[in-house]
């Protein structure tokens, strides 16, 4: 069984700071990491590999050449092979264009039985690429997966809902997007790390995956970022002073004045 895991290299948004003067995002020195949900996606694939014979786990990313570093981390965790879709033509892609490129990569990998993606990347935050890639491949999709069980020709997936969950039976091949509740990602092993640096990473450009440059990246993106800005900071409020008793009384009277309670 061949499993493809879509992984994205993202800036660690916990470390992102705002330039207080220019009001822009400071990305310099911010570490790049494997997107957290994608670590869960990879773990899910690796667990199937642990459980069943003849499972191959392939990791796939679209990104700049430096994304190879993250792919080696995935190899060190236990993935069998890594593919990097890298081409200037892929730059500036929105989720529609990203999913076109990823779908072309998955087609080229061939005979894929199962595709995993994270629910959401912590930079773009859209949660759209998984379901859109499935749509382009004509694969059934289950999103927000928190538990899975393999069956003969399908999967039983538990899909998280805000008010509970659904147990869904889906045909294979299919694509699943996973959430962190699914599992606890494993660490890289020392041997894995040593091995990972010996392995070849397959790099493909748009021609390799049979796409026209016009079908990739910015030129194939229906959405455009008109402007971006940092959220306006709220003005500093009032610091209530005094003993806890005095503070409590002031607060209650303020709330009464404003008819809030």
């Amino acid at each position: 069984m061949k499993i493809v895991v879509c992984v994205k290299q993202v800036p660690d948004t916990n470390e992102v700071r705002i330039d207080p003067v220019k009001g822009t995002l400071i990305r310099d020195g911010v570490p790049s990491i494997l997107n957290p949900d994608d670590a869960n996606a990879l773990e899910a694939a690796l667990e199937l590999k642990d459980l069943y014979e003849d499972v191959a786990v392939e990791v796939l990313t679209m990104g700049p050449p430096q994304a190879a570093y993250m792919l080696r981390e995935c190899l060190a965790m236990g993935a069998d092979h890594a593919y990097l879709l890298s081409d200037r033509a892929f730059g500036g892609a929105d989720t529609c264009a990203t999913s076109t490129t990823l779908a072309a990569g998955i087609r080229k990998i061939q005979d894929v039985d199962l595709v995993f993606a994270g629910r959401q990347a912590i930079d773009g935050d859209t949660a759209q690429v998984g379901p859109q890639t499935a749509s382009r491949l004509g694969l059934p999709v289950v999103t927000y997966v928190q538990d899975i069980r393999l069956e003969e020709d399908g999967i039983i997936a538990e899909r998280n809902m805000e008010d509970g969950c659904e147990i869904i039976r889906v045909r294979r091949p299919c694509l699943l997007t996973v959430i962190k509740e699914l599992n606890e990602p494993r660490y890289m092993t020392t041997w894995g790390i040593v091995d990972a640096f010996k392995q070849e990473i397959t790099v493909w450009n748009h021609e390799d995956v049979g796409l026209d440059a016009a079908d990739c990246g910015l030129s194939a993106s229906p959405t455009q970022v008109l402007r971006s800005f940092t959220p306006p900071a709220k003005g500093k409020g009032e610091r209530l002073q005094g003993t806890p008793r005095e503070i409590a009384e002031t607060l209650v009277s303020r709330l009464h004045e404003k008819h809030l309670i």
Binding site: I122, P131, P222, S228, P231, P244, R245
Partner: protein
């Protein structure tokens, strides 16, 4: 060719709202979408339509009309009883092809964020995720869609200039609900089902509703939220007492959910619920950007924190530096 595109764009009119239902109950985000959609439709001088899919849901169309829809497209069929990606996206995509809406809005729920991306690919258009603000540029009828990214550190305004429909998922709890008017009238249009059960690759075997009380953070007027500063799960009992006293509900930061102190449905923030109550009392919450993303639009924010430099104070209208276990009992005392 660009001319063909331009002609295509002008063929699209009308603002559509996906009327998400679960167990035949229209979800509250739909009324927020109708409120916002009504404004957009008026600005575009076009009609507001709702798309309602399910089984035995026809009667609900009246309610959508009362809440602002001029037309309701209804797909009422056994195969649509529960939301499934393939069945819902097919019916709605076929309707988009036929009736050509200019704008399509969906709630950014676990259902909307599954349906929206698949619909956008089918329709060959863009989709903006999790919007918190929508505006029309009257000059060119473009929908300007503003959304947070990078964990709430950055806001981006996104347009979809040359493809139609312009599609957005909209974060629940952000837009103003429409005002109900029982006297409104509107039209009902049936959508055909052009496929059979065999063509749908998924089956729902079971639906499990989370046990325990249902929390409706989005509708709450007063929220008393707790963070790691509570020290233990026990702390939520004190918050519950305060919330009960104020007629409010309890909520939580993600750290407490991760610690297993409280169920995930109580989580406020970027990966939890967005709330906009009249009063939000943050007790022992540091104010991480991901938490702020879910509550900073509350009318009045009160922060109780031991650390005077906690970022929560940056967004607080009333800041209290102190131990929540000393302040909250005094507060309940002062409330009488």
């Amino acid at each position: 060719s660009p001319e063909k595109k331009a002609a295509d764009v002008s063929a699209y009119r009308g603002v559509w709202v996906f009327a998400e239902q679960r167990d035949n109950e229209i979800q509250s985000v739909v009324f927020e979408l109708l409120g916002e959609g009504r404004k957009l439709a008026d600005e575009l001088e076009t009609e507001l339509c709702a798309v309602l899919c399910g089984c035995g849901i026809r009667e609900q169309a009246e309610e959508l009309i009362a809440c602002g829809a001029d037309k309701v497209y209804v797909a009422d069929h056994e195969i649509l009883k529960h939301y499934r990606t393939e069945s819902y996206s097919r019916v709605i995509f076929e309707a988009i092809e036929r009736y050509k809406p200019e704008v399509v809005l969906l709630g950014a729920t676990h259902i909307g964020r599954d349906l929206g991306p698949c619909l956008a690919v089918k329709a060959g258009t863009g989709l903006t995720a999790d919007c918190t603000k929508l505006e029309i540029d009257r000059e060119n009828r473009r929908l300007q869609q503003t959304r947070p990214a990078f964990g709430g550190n950055l806001m981006a305004t996104i347009i979809c200039p040359s493809h139609r429909p312009q599609m957005s998922t909209v974060r629940p709890g952000v837009m103003q609900k429409s005002v109900r008017d029982g006297g409104r009238t509107g039209a009902l249009i049936d959508l055909p089902i052009t496929f059979t059960e065999d063509e749908i690759p998924t089956k729902i075997l079971d639906i499990i509703k989370s046990v325990g009380e249902k929390v409706s953070l989005t509708d709450a007027k007063i929220i008393v939220a707790g963070g790691m500063g509570l020290g233990s799960a026990e702390g939520f009992k004190l918050l519950k007492e305060l919330a009960d006293r104020l007629g409010g509900v309890v909520a939580s930061s993600r750290a407490c959910v991760d610690a297993g102190w409280i169920a995930p449905s109580y989580q406020v923030g970027q990966t939890g619920t967005t709330v906009k109550p009249a009063v939000y009392i943050a007790c022992g919450i540091s104010g991480a950007i991901q938490h702020l993303a879910g509550m900073q639009n509350s009318d009045y924010i009160i922060a109780i924190n031991k650390n005077e430099n906690a970022p929560i104070f940056e967004v607080a209208d009333y800041g209290i530096v102190g131990d929540l276990y000393r302040v909250i009992p005094e507060l309940m005392e002062a409330l009488g």
